[in-house]
Symmetry: C2
Subunit: 283 residues, 2 copies
């Protein structure tokens, strides 16, 4: 590992493997990290520098046409901290190289196509660091809970997703899928705090409570997602997220791990360095 | 001014007004800032917190449908520091609210349309903070210097740009146009340093020296841009950029000024706070 502060590699501790049970998975643990919040902040700064350099190498590789990409897929119950991942972890890297997409409810044109149609258009290009804030997994999460598609269509989608992601991996993309896992009590605290502060009122949406009332259905839908789509080529990671600072640190590490798997290096030059020095000196 | 460190408002000092002459405009000055690089770093941190809060209010306003947007247009000679503005100034704000577009050479489909066609598709939506890294101004800069369009078409474009930007302003967008101004000597130093370091080689492009050889033509083309398109509704700012840290600080302030002109406040609620508290407590 590039960072110094982990006591064990969280990759191994957080990856969804065979027999994973979401209901048995803690929301308030800190796998691989022994210290508290204050040290978590130092650690995040250390990791940010590592992540930034790796992303610059990814971007550089893209400029010479190397087909290497990263795609972070973020899913979670409301208030679990997706936005904080974006603003605290992704912010460390150069916005120039980030392709961020927040998927909303599909519009009429999108609904008239297969669910993957709008997603395929947004996959990262060579050298890009893609971030999906929600994703095609909504089409087997809210779509399952709210019965937005027939059961046999929902069933079909798991396989379609695996095939789609396999294609991304085969063309040079590391696919990192993260579920931020909070407890029902923690969600209540966070929603309450949005109702307490005037500068947070705009973040509160009564519809969030409607979804909250289906908590168990959503947990079941997530379990099904893990059972069906945590593949060798695109595994899920479930991150205890009651402590926001830990969740950010863990996602940061998973991204560092993903970038390292691409064996990035500064690209070679396709021009004559000495000749260019002379040409520049004369200009 | 919200920040404490300016001795005079750089808005007034850097805005392109009547009679502006680029050739007389210094590249190594620090208008409005008396201190050095070290204090510049503290100042940038202070300004970042101000910018972040304003952008969050902009984003919040967008969620309730208020038509308020910011669009930063960045233009400059190569190596002047556009990338640094993005990674050091824009990075402060939540990536979720940023719509960043790097305009490359137009492709065949784009060339078959009017030059503004691809640009119009990328203007910021309600609540968005748009960043154009290069822009429609390339169509009167490189297009003029390299004669990529007939002279009468280039002439037509200045007026078309003013009309286009007027439309953006009329629909709630603050348009901030920034030219980073470096000296020819400083560009030589920066290009040289890219040839010296292995981790910078990928940033060097022999074509940059070809453009450098047309330096005076580009300065003339920029002067024409300022003469024709620095309007009351969308003025240009020319930023001395030989000192990168000063240029970042100045652009940050211009953005803060732009956001403040929108008179942003947290949006009101369209739900019953007390009723929601009860509903949440029961859930």
């Amino acid at each position: 590992m590039r960072e110094t502060f982990w006591t064990a590699d969280p990759i191994d501790l957080l990856r969804v493997g065979d027999g994973f049970v979401l209901a048995d998975s803690p929301t308030d643990a800190r796998p691989g990290f022994d210290r508290g919040k204050k040290h978590g902040a130092y650690a995040l700064d250390e990791g940010a520098a590592v992540l930034r350099e790796l992303q610059e190498k990814l971007f550089a590789a893209g400029t010479v046409g190397e087909r290497k990409q990263v795609l972070l897929v973020l899913q979670a119950m409301d208030t679990a901290g997706k936005g904080g991942i974006v603003s605290h972890v992704i912010r460390a890297v150069d916005p120039n190289g980030v392709h961020y997409v927040a998927f909303k409810a599909p519009n009429q044109v999108e609904l008239a196509h297969d669910f993957l149609w709008r997603v395929a258009k947004q996959v990262p290009a060579a050298g890009e660091f893609g971030v999906f804030d929600r994703s095609h997994y909504e089409d087997v999460l809210i779509a399952r809970v709210r019965e937005l598609a027939p059961p046999e269509e929902i069933e079909r989608r798991y396989g379609a997703i695996n095939t789609f992601e396999r294609g991304l991996v085969d063309t040079g993309t590391v696919v990192v899928k993260v579920m931020l896992h909070i407890s029902k009590d923690e969600q209540k605290r966070r929603l309450s705090s949005r109702l307490e502060r005037e500068d947070k009122h705009w973040k509160y949406n009564p519809a969030d409570v409607d979804e909250r009332m289906r908590w168990d259905d959503y947990q079941d839908a997530f379990q099904r997602v893990f059972d069906r789509t945590s593949t060798d080529w695109a595994p899920w990671y479930v991150i205890p997220a009651d402590r926001k600072w830990y969740a950010r640190l863990a996602v940061q590490h998973i991204l560092i791990h993903a970038l390292e798997s691409l064996n990035l290096d500064w690209p070679g030059v396709d021009y004559d360095i000495e000749a260019e020095k002379k040409r520049l000196a004369a200009s």
